[in-house]
C-alpha cells in the first residue's frame, strides 16, 4: 500500500516535470521568451513604484 503510494507520487512528479518541459518548449516555439525578455530589460515602472 505504502509502496504503491510512493510509486504514484513519483509518477506525478515525473509527469509534472514533463508537462513543465513541454509547456516551456511550446512557449519557446511561440517566441514567448522574447516577450519575457522585452519586459525584463526595461525598468518596470509599476514594480519600482512610478506606476
Amino acid at each position: 500500500m505504502k509502496f504503491r503510494l510512493e510509486k504514484r507520487k513519483w509518477a506525478v512528479t515525473v509527469a509534472l516535470l514533463v508537462i513543465g518541459l513541454i509547456l516551456i518548449a511550446i512557449g519557446i516555439d511561440k517566441k514567448q521568451e522574447k516577450s519575457v525578455m522585452a519586459k525584463a530589460v526595461r525598468i518596470c515602472m509599476e514594480c519600482v513604484g512610478i506606476g
Binding site: 512528479t13 518541459l21 511561440k30 525578455m37 519586459k39 518596470c44 514594480c47 519600482v48
Partner: protein, 289 residues
C-alpha cells in the same frame, strides 16, 4: 552530554550551510554588480529565463526575469496569449523543488531570515496566524491572475504589493536621477508596505512568505510531490514533538511533513533526536548525521 554538544555544533554548522546556500543563490540571481553603481539594469540573454525565487527584474543586479512579474505581464497583455513559457517554468521549478525554492533560493526569504536574526521580541504562534496564511492564495488569485486578466497592462501585485520591486525602486532611486524625480504616491504606498514587512519580520519569522507571497502559494501546491521533499519514518518517530516545537511555520512535521506551508528551512530535520525526519530527493537522502 558530549553528544549533546556535538549535536548542537552540527546543527549550527548545518544552519550556517543553509544560510550560505541562500546567500550564494541571492548573489547568483543578482550578479550584475556593476548595475548597483550605475543604476542600469542588465539587458543580456539571461533575462529570457525566469529565476525560481521572487527577485524583481528591475533590480540593478538582477540577471534573470521575475516569474510573478512575467506571469502578470503575459496574462495582462493587450491581446490574451496563454502563458505557456512562464507557466511551464513555474510548473518545472515547482515539481523539482516545491517550496524548497522559498527556503533555499529566494532572495526575499533570505532577507527576512537575516532580519529575524536581529535580537527582538519573537512571536510566531498567535491566533490570527492560521487565518492570515490563506491570504497569500487570495493574492495569487486576485492580484496575479484575475486583475491582470481583467485590466490589461496592470501587474497589480508588482504595482501595489511586491517588496522586491520596492527594494529595486530604492536602489534605482539611489543611483538614477531620472527615476528619483518620478517617484510619488505609489512609491510611498509601496514603501509603507515594505516597512510593515520589515518590522513584522523582526517579530514573526518570514511574514511575507507566510501571508502574502503568491509564489510561495503556488509552490506550496507542489510540496507533496516535488522531487525534493521530506520523509518521515514512522518507526523511528517517538512523537516527542521536538519538530513541531521548533517549526517557525507552525506545522507539525510528524503529522504532515510535506505541508503546503513548509519552506524546507530544515529546522525539524536538524532537531529530530531520532533522525525520523529526512529531506532530499524523494525525501530520503539528507538526514541528520
Amino acid at each position: 552530554m558530549d553528544s549533546q554538544v556535538k549535536s548542537r555544533k552540527s546543527n549550527r554548522r548545518r544552519k550556517g550551510l543553509h544560510l550560505g546556500i541562500q546567500g550564494v543563490a541571492t548573489l547568483l540571481q543578482n550578479a550584475n554588480f556593476k548595475g548597483f553603481f550605475t543604476g542600469k539594469i542588465y539587458t543580456g540573454a539571461g533575462k529570457k529565463v525566469c529565476v525560481p525565487g521572487l527577485n524583481c527584474y528591475s533590480c540593478p543586479g538582477a540577471v534573470g526575469a521575475c516569474p510573478i512579474g512575467s506571469l502578470q505581464n503575459s496574462l495582462g497583455g493587450m491581446k490574451f496569449r496563454f502563458p505557456y513559457y512562464v507557466l511551464g517554468l513555474l510548473i518545472f521549478f515547482g515539481a523539482l523543488l516545491g517550496r524548497a525554492v522559498c527556503g533555499f533560493l529566494c532572495p526575499l526569504g533570505f532577507l527576512q531570515d537575516l532580519i529575524y536574526m536581529i535580537p527582538f521580541v519573537k512571536r510566531n504562534k498567535f491566533k490570527l496566524d492560521r487565518y492570515l496564511r490563506y491570504f497569500k492564495y487570495a493574492v495569487l488569485l486576485g492580484l496575479v491572475i484575475i486583475l491582470p486578466l481583467s485590466i490589461p497592462l496592470t501587474p497589480a501585485f508588482c504595482k501595489y504589493v511586491c517588496p522586491s520591486g520596492t527594494i529595486a525602486g530604492c536602489m534605482q532611486a539611489a543611483s538614477n536621477k531620472l527615476v528619483r524625480g518620478q517617484l510619488g504616491m505609489l512609491f510611498n504606498w509601496k514603501l509603507i508596505v515594505l516597512l510593515i514587512i520589515i518590522v513584522s519580520a523582526l517579530i514573526v519569522w518570514r511574514p511575507f512568505c507566510k501571508y502574502l507571497c503568491p509564489l510561495g502559494a503556488w509552490y506550496g501546491f507542489f510540496n507533496k510531490v516535488a522531487l525534493y521533499r521530506m520523509h518521515l519514518d514512522p518507526e523511528k518517530c517517538t512523537h516527542c514533538h521536538a519538530c513541531e516545537n521548533v517549526c517557525k511555520m507552525n506545522i507539525d512535521p510528524s503529522k504532515n511533513p510535506n505541508s503546503m506551508e513548509c519552506v524546507r528551512c530544515g529546522d525539524c530535520v536538524r532537531n529530530c533526536p531520532t533522525q525520523a525526519l529526512t529531506a532530499g530527493i524523494g525525501g530520503k537522502k539528507e538526514g541528520k548525521n
